[in-house]
């Protein structure tokens, strides 16, 4: 695609957002248009800025978990896990194995819920209105399980420093197995409806192409990077929790277009479901929380811990000055970093492609703005 001007006309500035159905929240793109063609795009963020990092400095370590729930509000448990791992590293806590299994099961379920929502909302960005209902249905099922386990549907505050809040209910195993079957069917339904649909292929193949080198240089991570053919997954390259004991595949793409990013996410759903059933097979009874002081005061020091969120590589940089509150907490939010790829992908495409590309990055504004 060329960005060359086709006619001698004045560019049109189109302010897409912050209130626009396809910007997934309060994101604003200023598009410079030549007719239907996008010459340039300027992202504007900050409409949902809540100062989460600063807020974290005012809370004790245990309370920070609740704030992490609210950063990426589609993948709450993954976020809790990211922070708790950083705090545990700082305090040198060994988490009991059963707690790690519970954490991984919940985190992978949340990944599936997040991807199911992505597939649905991405389809509605492209004008297909049915998959979003299926996506929400699967997410709803998973949330019902979360409610049974953690007591909350979104803001769980379940993964704690040193383990999880409490052991899972007695019927957890059979219930999760049943859930896996249902969710797999639901995802296959979306798969059949969407993946090889002619119009869908026409809208996503070859759109928003980003090659591996550019993707790395702008800092893409997660499925958006794997769509370009880079097999980088924190679970594989820097294993944590009990991921080393699981067999799975890291799906990658090759062309780095919207369809590849979508397809990687779709395959990840299947992989996550298989990981969950492996976890259930391996899980043994045991304690779910370490014995630790009620008010944790880590030693002075700093850690940087990263883990794999549905949207990419979330990093938590934690500095302690020896008190019960973090001295500084910096988050590397995957959505925010992935958003950098928007401009190079979008230039030279059409307005409709800009929507498709933004959707394929799967951003969550709560995380972009923090």
């Amino acid at each position: 695609m060329t960005t060359e001007r086709q006619h001698d006309t004045i560019d049109m500035m189109l302010n897409m957002g912050p209130q626009h159905p396809a910007t997934h929240g309060v994101f604003r793109m200023v598009l410079t248009l030549d007719g239907e063609r996008v010459l340039d795009v300027t992202p504007h963020i900050g409409y949902l800025h809540r100062g989460s990092e600063k807020l974290c400095e005012g809370e004790s370590y245990g309370q920070v978990v609740t704030l992490f729930d609210r950063i990426d509000y589609i993948a709450n448990l993954n976020n809790e896990l990211a922070f708790c791992r950083a705090a545990e590293r700082l305090m040198s806590i060994e988490v009991p194995e059963r707690a790690m299994y519970i954490r991984v099961i919940l985190a992978e379920l949340n990944r599936v819920a997040s991807h199911a929502l992505f597939i649905g909302t991405y389809a509605i960005d492209l004008g297909a209105m049915t998959p979003v209902m299926y996506g929400f249905r699967e997410r709803e099922r998973i949330q019902n399980l979360f409610e049974a386990v953690t007591g909350a549907r979104m803001m769980h505050n379940f993964i704690r420093i040193g383990g999880v809040k409490e052991d899972v209910p007695d019927d957890f195993g059979p219930r999760v197995r049943q859930l896996i079957g249902q969710v797999r069917e639901g995802i296959e339904e979306m798969d059949r409806l969407l993946t090889f649909n002619e119009v869908y292929l026409a809208r996503t193949r070859g759109v928003g192409v980003i090659d591996a080198a550019t993707a790395i240089s702008v800092g893409l991570t997660g499925p958006s990077l794997r769509g370009s053919g880079v097999a980088y997954d924190v679970r594989k390259d820097d294993p944590y929790e009990i991921y080393p004991y699981l067999s799975y595949k890291v799906p990658i793409g090759e062309n780095g277009d919207c369809w590849d990013r979508y397809y990687v996410r779709l395959q990840e759903c299947y992989e996550s479901l298989s990981m969950i059933s492996q976890c259930l097979d391996q899980m043994e009874a045991g304690p779910t929380m370490v014995q630790m002081r009620r008010i944790a005061r880590p030693p002075k020091g700093e850690v940087y811990v990263h883990s794999e969120n549905p949207r990419g590589d979330i990093g938590v940089y934690l500095v302690s000055d020896g008190t019960d509150k973090p001295y500084r907490l910096k988050i590397r939010p995957p959505s925010f970093c992935n958003l950098v790829g928007l401009a190079p992908m979008t230039r030279g495409s059409y307005i409709a492609d800009a929507v498709a590309i933004l959707g394929s990055l799967d951003i969550v504004l709560g995380e972009v703005d923090r």
């Binding site: 189109l14 302010n15 626009h20 159905p21 396809a22 239907e36 194995e97 059963r98 299994y101 389809a123 509605i124 492209l126 004008g127 297909a128 209105m129 049915t130 209902m133 299926y134 249905r137 195993g173 409806l193 969407l194 993946t195 090889f196 649909n197 002619e198 119009v199 869908y200 292929l201 026409a202 809208r203 193949r205 097999a231 679970r235 594989k236 009990i242 080393p244 004991y245 699981l246 067999s247 799975y248 595949k249 890291v250 799906p251 990658i252 793409g253 090759e254 369809w259 590849d260 395959q267 492996q278 259930l280 391996q282 043994e284 009874a285 059409y350 307005i351 409709a352 492609d353 929507v355």
Partner: protein
């Protein structure tokens, strides 16, 4: 020709009745769409207002009429308020010549098909005007899109209507229906029927061609600044047009109120006609539940490179058949043969490579193998102390 007073009264009465019939049909379509989409999406659709939610569209209409009618301060007010009428009036006027049954029409025009074509194009002016007069960027983008889309898809529609007119030897809807006594034209010319349905989808802006009012791109396009009653008029016109495509399909290709039963009482004929119309409309809703939206350039190239050549091919094939007097099944065969290459190309260049790619991706996915899990010391000693006490989570 002198115009009698009684004529004027009768025509007014007919027009008023027609307006009501068409409006009720459009409202029924709103209900049907919501109910069908709901069922296809694992929902139930409207259930609260009236039995099966049948009164929901009326409640929505009342709500819209009671809303404040806002015009943007920078809009051109006269054009802004005229535009909905320019869209609505042609879409309603077309119905004058549509026969619901053997004797059920306002006027059986000898040039009925031509009348339809001439009037249906007028609606585009209203859409462009709505986009322009709103003085909004989304609206003007939508207006331009509608101009480009509707004008280019008008051509295949007209060509397929011409094919029907050739086969029937008449431009009157009545004669076209009578000519399909034995075999409907959908069987005689499946190619023209297919082109008609696709172009019809684009003509009324339904998925996958709902580009000019694409919600996730131009947020409603020409209608973005409208509210209240004026928006309701656009909405009504859109559904009337959808019903029109169904009715046209039923009349031109499915034999209207006659085929396959021949001469039946008027009420049965109307029921048959409505059944066919609603069937086509249901297909349109089904497509909406299934397909994403195309992009504007894909839409234009599909129109100009696929549909228009196909419609010309249908036209030429029909002309050959009539000139040389080939048997009618030759026409069916030929039009099916013409349909093969585009379908083959579509599968060959779109779906097959994507499926191969998916298979390829399944192969290159990086496999991570599980490491053996170290057996915890505590578990070993426990197992020695009391075998079989490990409990499975």
């Amino acid at each position: 020709m002198s115009l009698e007073l009684m004529d004027v009264v009768w025509v007014s009465l007919w027009l008023f009745t027609l307006l009501n019939v068409v409006a009720v049909a459009a409202l029924s379509l709103v209900w049907l769409e919501r109910k069908l989409l709901g069922r296809m999406q694992g929902r139930v659709g409207p259930t609260r207002v009236g039995p099966f939610g049948l009164l929901q569209p009326i409640a929505d209409g009342i709500k819209l009429l009671m809303k404040e009618d806002i015009a943007p301060g920078s809009s051109s007010r006269v054009l802004f308020f005229v535009a909905p009428l320019l869209v609505f009036v042609p879409s309603y006027m077309v119905w004058i010549t549509i026969p619901f049954g053997r004797d059920l029409f306002v006027r059986n025009l000898d040039l009925g098909l031509f009348f339809f074509v001439a009037l249906s194009v007028l609606g585009i002016v209203g859409l462009v005007l709505a986009g322009w007069s709103s003085n909004s960027k989304y609206a003007i983008l939508g207006g331009f899109r509608s101009a480009a889309q509707l004008v280019s898809y008008e051509i295949p529609i007209i060509m397929t209507i011409l094919v029907v007119a050739m086969l029937a030897g008449s431009l009157s809807f009545h004669d076209v229906v009578l000519a399909q006594d034995v075999v409907p034209y959908a069987a005689v010319q499946p190619l023209a029927f297919g082109v008609f349905l696709l172009a019809g989808l684009a003509e009324v802006g339904r998925t996958p061609f709902d580009i000019y009012h694409a919600e996730s791109e131009v947020v409603g396009g020409p209608f973005v600044e409208y509210s209240g009653a004026h928006w309701a008029i656009f909405f009504l016109a859109e559904y009337i047009n959808t019903f029109m495509v169904g009715a046209l399909g039923a009349l031109l290709f499915l034999g209207g109120w006659r085929w396959p039963v021949g001469d039946v009482p008027a009420a049965a004929g109307v029921a048959l006609f409505l059944f066919k119309t609603y069937a086509i409309v249901a297909v349109i809703f089904w497509v909406r539940a299934t397909y994403p939206r195309m992009r504007i350039d894909q839409l234009m190239s599909f129109g100009w490179k696929v549909l228009i050549p196909l419609s010309f091919a249908a036209f030429v094939v029909t002309a050959f058949q009539m000139f040389y007097g080939w048997p009618i099944w030759m026409l069916t065969l030929l039009s099916l043969v013409i349909l093969v290459p585009p379908i083959y190309i579509q599968l060959r260049w779109q779906r097959t490579p994507a499926m191969a790619l998916a298979k390829h991706y399944a192969e290159i996915a990086v496999a991570v193998h599980a490491q053996p899990r170290p057996v915890p010391v505590a578990a070993v000693t426990e197992a020695h102390a009391a075998p079989g006490t490990e409990d499975d989570a």
